[in-house]
Symmetry: C2
Subunit: 294 residues, 2 copies
């Protein structure tokens, strides 16, 4: 995994640097500051890493697909800003720092999210123009719109809000996760594959890989939250807590949830095995996503 | 203007019908309902009419450019939903009906706006695929993103919020208007021109036409608000009122503002005269925009 780590570090640094070059300062300074603050709020950059790693599997260098990778991260960043709003999940902190609306006010936070979503599609267009590939750019535009819109992230957030305080079955929880976080993770992979010229069959296999790993990633996230809240609240895991926001660990318990993650991970890897490609980077990234520390 | 009226009525009906076919009901029902409610909240459809009329001037039928016209209207609709939010302009009504957040709650209103913005770019992509014109679709994608993003509508909304309670000079007021409403009006025209295969010179002339008519349109809007608020509040036009939200009528008075609108309208028409095209539709539409009833 040493070579993979080198790739991931390089890819992450490239994303961190490049994404800021994509916003011009020709805008109201407060908006610029809020956009930078949000984009710099250093996450793990999992989604663009998925795009870049998949592209690499199909022979594309980081530089060739950095633009769609950044577009994916912009859309992810916008979604976090809007999710944190008082009317939504009402989170004051994001990755240990004040969330965008706490730092810049609610109006500017809404507009910062809007701006990032709007720019993301222009970044995809830049990719098409720069690499003389309008067809691929439009395909990516379509994928991003589907993954981020009402059949994806936005729809998942609506279901998630509706589900608050209601106990759900496992299939419902997984459906919300698939929409809210799964589709954009899947799009991140497929965009890399499209940019890399993968065949339709390969894309279909990668989509199955991504669906498994996306769900595993979400469950690991929920496991962290679950453990945190037990430490904070100091009470044992109970059904009432699970009912606040229905999660897989809340429903089947943490031990079972961990086993389920392991199963999903193995399933994901088995799809990668179907590809006649050097998939090491992708399997290492999947491993990082599932066996990460918080 | 009888033939033009026929065109406008036909175009408006086509937009009203077609825009609803672009949202699938494969999404959470509450979100679908909120999206329909917002798209059906029958405005004048000025922006798509500009796109369709400009396209027609360059020989394109309504059916050939209905998709980008609908994309423009979706972006306009999203912007109204977000502008009305409590954290922004806090408007409870929109065109005499409860605004989206009053009807569906704040969270769903934010997400409905996000969804419409997201879908708009996919509608542009549909245009590219359907008419086998990826290059034009990407150009339109770029124009829409610029007009709607931080260098356009979103930037203008930030400046507008910052300007509340501050007295501005005319140049500043016009800059805000140019960003907040002017750029998307201009984009509406240019998108029709691009779809119609206009030359770069023609597009440059149309942009100047659109800038003039966009500003005139905004001032007429402000004149309506100004008159309304005087009737409602029952007090004479005064500087304190203008300071709440700086507008041209507030700054130079309603009589002067009306003269200014007339001047902008004549300027706009003079640009149309430079084109060697049958521009009657566009000049009639400009006239409707400026001499409309509320």
């Amino acid at each position: 995994m040493i070579e993979s780590e080198h790739f991931f570090n390089n890819a992450r640094e490239t994303v961190n640097h490049h994404i800021l070059t994509l916003i011009s300062d020709d805008m109201p300074p407060a908006l610029y500051e809020a956009m930078r603050y949000s984009l710099e709020n250093g996450g793990k950059r999992i989604r663009p890493l998925l795009t870049l790693a998949t592209g690499y599997v199909f022979g594309k260098d980081i530089a060739e697909i950095i633009l769609p990778a950044c577009a994916v991260e912009m859309i992810h960043t916008y979604s976090l800003i809007h999710d944190d709003l008082p009317a939504m999940d009402n989170s004051d902190y994001r990755r240990g720092k004040p969330s965008c609306h706490v730092k810049f006010g609610e109006a500017l936070a809404i507009l910062t999210g809007d701006a990032l979503l709007t720019i993301a599609f222009d970044v995809v267009r830049d990719y098409g123009v720069k690499h003389d590939n309008e067809k691929k750019a439009l395909q990516i535009c379509h994928l991003l719109s589907l993954a981020a819109g009402p059949q994806g992230m936005v729809g998942g957030q609506v279901l998630d809000l509706e589900a608050e305080g209601i106990s759900l079955r496992q299939a419902d929880i997984e459906k919300i996760a698939a929409l809210k976080t799964g589709k954009i993770i899947s799009a991140s992979v497929i965009i890399g594959a499209i940019a890399g010229g993968a065949s339709e069959e390969e894309i279909a296999v990668l989509e199955q890989f991504a669906n498994k790993i996306g769900l595993a990633f979400q469950i690991v996230d929920d496991l962290f939250d679950y453990e945190d809240s037990n430490i904070d609240i100091g009470k044992p895991v109970g059904i009432d807590q699970a009912a606040v926001k229905a999660t897989i660990p809340g429903l089947i318990g943490t031990a079972q949830a961990r086993k389920y993650v392991e199963m999903l991970f193995q399933d994901a890897l088995s799809f990668l095995d179907e590809l006649d490609r050097p998939v090491q980077l992708l399997s290492d990234l999947a491993s990082k996503m599932v066996y990460r520390k918080k």
